[in-house]
Amino acid sequence: MTPAALLQSVLASLPEIVVITGACVLLIVGLFVPKGRSHVLVWASIAIVAAAAAATLALAGVVRPAYSGMFVVDGFASFFKVLFYLATALTLLLSPKYAEIEKIERSEYYVLLLFALSGMMIMASGTDLLSIYVGLELMALSTYVLTGFLRDDRRSNEAALKYVILGAVSSGIFLYGVSLVYGLTGTTQLDAIAATLTADAPLDPGLLLAIVFIVTGLVFKVGAVPFHMWVPDIYEGAPTTITAFLSVGPKAAGFAVILRVFLNPLFAASDVWIVVAVIAVVTMALGSFVALVQDNIKRLLAYSSIAHAGFALLGVVAGGVNGVASVMLYLLIYVFMNLGIFGIVIMMRNSDFSGEAIEDYAGFAKSHRVLALLMLLFLFSLAGIPPTAGFFAKFYVLVALIEQGFIALAVIAVLLSAVAAYFYIRIVMVMYMREPAGAFNPALTLPVRIALAITAAGTIGIGLFPAWFLSLAQQSVFGS
């Protein structure tokens, strides 16, 4: 690698470098920040994310291959990075008060979030199965620790242990797939793999097996059936802020890799989509039906996120520009609406009140009109009712599906989302149509307010004026 190429590579990976360096500095600085002043760390972390975002925006517009084809900065990667910044920044805003209440105000919390962010960024930019794997592990290891951050809580410990074991298995499966690919094609670079394969037309069964392994590893990350078992337990056990983060960040990163692999003409040509279609439908069905009987809102949202992952996978099935763009837009919108609802759940946690049971929300609308209205907005958005963004997300996936002629899949998808609507509006019912059992004391601080304002603005704004976001997603697919 020539010095000039290296310089170009460093420039292309500037956002990652900013985040990782920032996290390392924060790790040291954190030791000297006195207890009770941890909000300094929050704002410092947000500043790091903002700096990385500025770098990403400055780099956008040109395709920059880097590190000898291991890494690329293109519209697709930039779109996902912005999504990750958003998810991380919102999680950071939601964190300080919650961390104070749960007594987990430690600088490592913020540092690990930043490391997870950098892992996701590498996943989005990776064009080599190995660099993708490095990003995946960096993200995964950070989130394992974050899941177990409530050290005195048995559920949190259990969740972390489960997550580590299952995550390690899935990483192993992914890596095994990668090794098979390497053995059969002699390379781990996505483009090179595609080139080898198009040379001799019929797909090697060994390679198909390898693809199945890789898909399995990735499907685990997005929490799709049959690799979804970890989701409810881990969502319930993890600190709620981390649950919120897990539901949008790593999930989107998993989708980014799936799309990157599927953007590849090879996979588009193969019949892997049938597998993905089956996974998508079963995932949606399981998520929607099991969520119907949940009493714990974190578990309910876990199953809801499974159902949403299934819906987004349908966009992968559709493929093409609209299919890929629909998944990207879906994930972006999901960041807003899901972090919005988690923001409310996080805020409900206060001194002696957990706010985890759905019953805890009985009569919430009576005393907190605005907060209840926001929650109503997020819930209807998750249910996919216009004019919220959630509707447009689903609508666009359906357009992509029907464009490719998958009408039966589209019908199944909408019927299942009608089922899913039931458990969302059930929460609305509890909030608005029941009498409160006691007084509410939500931990509503300024950062939480900001986070809720951003998520609400996104949820309603993209719903009413989706045109700009739509063309942004469409343009990002072409990789400019």
């Binding site: 009109r369 109503l376 209807f380 009712i385 216009p386 004019p387 509707f391 609508f395 666009y396 359906l398 357009v399 029907i402 464009e403 009408i407 589209a410 019908v411 909408v414 019927l415 989302s417 009608a418 609507a421 039931y422 509006i425 059930r426 609305v428 019912m429 608005y432 149509m433 004026f465 989706p466 045109a467 739509l470 063309s471 469409q474």
Partner: protein, 494 residues
Amino acid sequence: MDFPLLSVIVFLPAAGALVILFLRDDNAVRWTALTVTVVDFVLCIGLLLGFDTTTYEMQFTETREWIPALGVSFALGVDGISALFVFLTALLGGVSVLASWVAIDHKVKEFMISLLAMQSLMLGVFCALDLFLFYVFWEAMLIPMYMIIGVWGGDGRVYAAFKFFLFTLAGSVLFLIGVIVLYFQGGETFDILSLMGQDYPFAVQSWLFFAFLIAFAVKVPMVPMHTWLPDAHVQAPTAGSIILAGVLLKMGAYGFLRFSLPMLPDASQYYSTLVLVLSAIAIVYGGLLALAQDDLKKLVAYSSISHMGFVTLGIFTLSIRGMEGGILQMFNHGITTGALFLLVGLIYERTHTRSISDYGGLMKAAPVYTVFLAIFILSSMALPGTNSFVGELLILADAFGANLAVGAAAIVGALLAAAYLLGMFRRVALGPASVGQRYEIWDINRRELAAILPLAVFVFWVGLYPKPFLNIIHVSAEHLLQQVHGHHSRAERP
């Protein structure tokens, strides 16, 4: 048209809802809501006065870009069919506010916001000329309506609200699939008018017809998709019932008129007998169910099913009188049934019972009220001189031509209507003055009069001189029939 009249009409209530968000006093909230709905109604009068009855073209059209990448635009416009319902919706909006004046005594602010949001969305449904926009309005209505039934309804409100929500949602998601299929079949546009001017293969039309049929049949409601209606009506507050019966049910029929018939003409003709039979079943079955009710609201609710059967019957005769009758009857049903629900609501405020057997001799206790009740009951059973007579006569005139058995069933339904309505009137209003002794009953006050009087005016206006209304409908209905019957020769027409 420079002044965006339709946009103003559609979004004025929503703007009012925003204003109400910042008001603190309940009375200020009520007056604001009333002012907004009355101003909106006045604008709608202006709309009808400026309406050109000689053309079927869309009028007062507005088009703005919305989502160009998907061919979605913000397009509004009215023709003779929709103009009438815009007017009806605006009229019932004011009535609903007046009906909720004292009946809603908690969370007044939220209620009026829901009501006004509902009003905007309903007006939007009738004005939308873009299928995507239409769907957004159509589906978004679920939110405020769910809240109106679920928060301010009766004891079984939660169940009723769920049932309403899920039935309608399940119906309309299939409609959504149909919409997207139509989008790709019709050249990637959501523009309603250009989607009309195309020949779709019959197989596509058939599938779409059934997807649409399910969505619209739930809304109308047609048997067997009607079971949400009695629950929703009984549990909803008075204003909710007025909106449901007056406007929401019309949307199903409007969907047939705006989408099924002009876009899927071959399938509409082919399956018209099916819809006619379903309509006949609804007329008789709804009537029989109404006959068996002791609950006033349930009785009116089931009578709605029966009367909406007349509407779909008229539309699917696919001939001019039936069509005009069907459309006029939609308007009439909105007025009459809206008024009946209002009257039931008023008396419920006094007695807190809806059971017919608790009443009797109301005539002596509340004579003015009883006169109005009589007017609307007679209107509902289509007595000559009232609005429904004109509508039903037109429908029946063509019903026999379309299908003899269906026409006969409609006659039976009309007789049943007389039976249950007069029976109800006898048991509630006539007889010894028992109800006045058991309950504290007072006659209609000025606010209530202001709500009911405009509706009574339309009963007689349409009943005695329906020409202005039929004029509005006529050209558009004729054009619609041309679209259904003569769509192959469309290219030759200017």
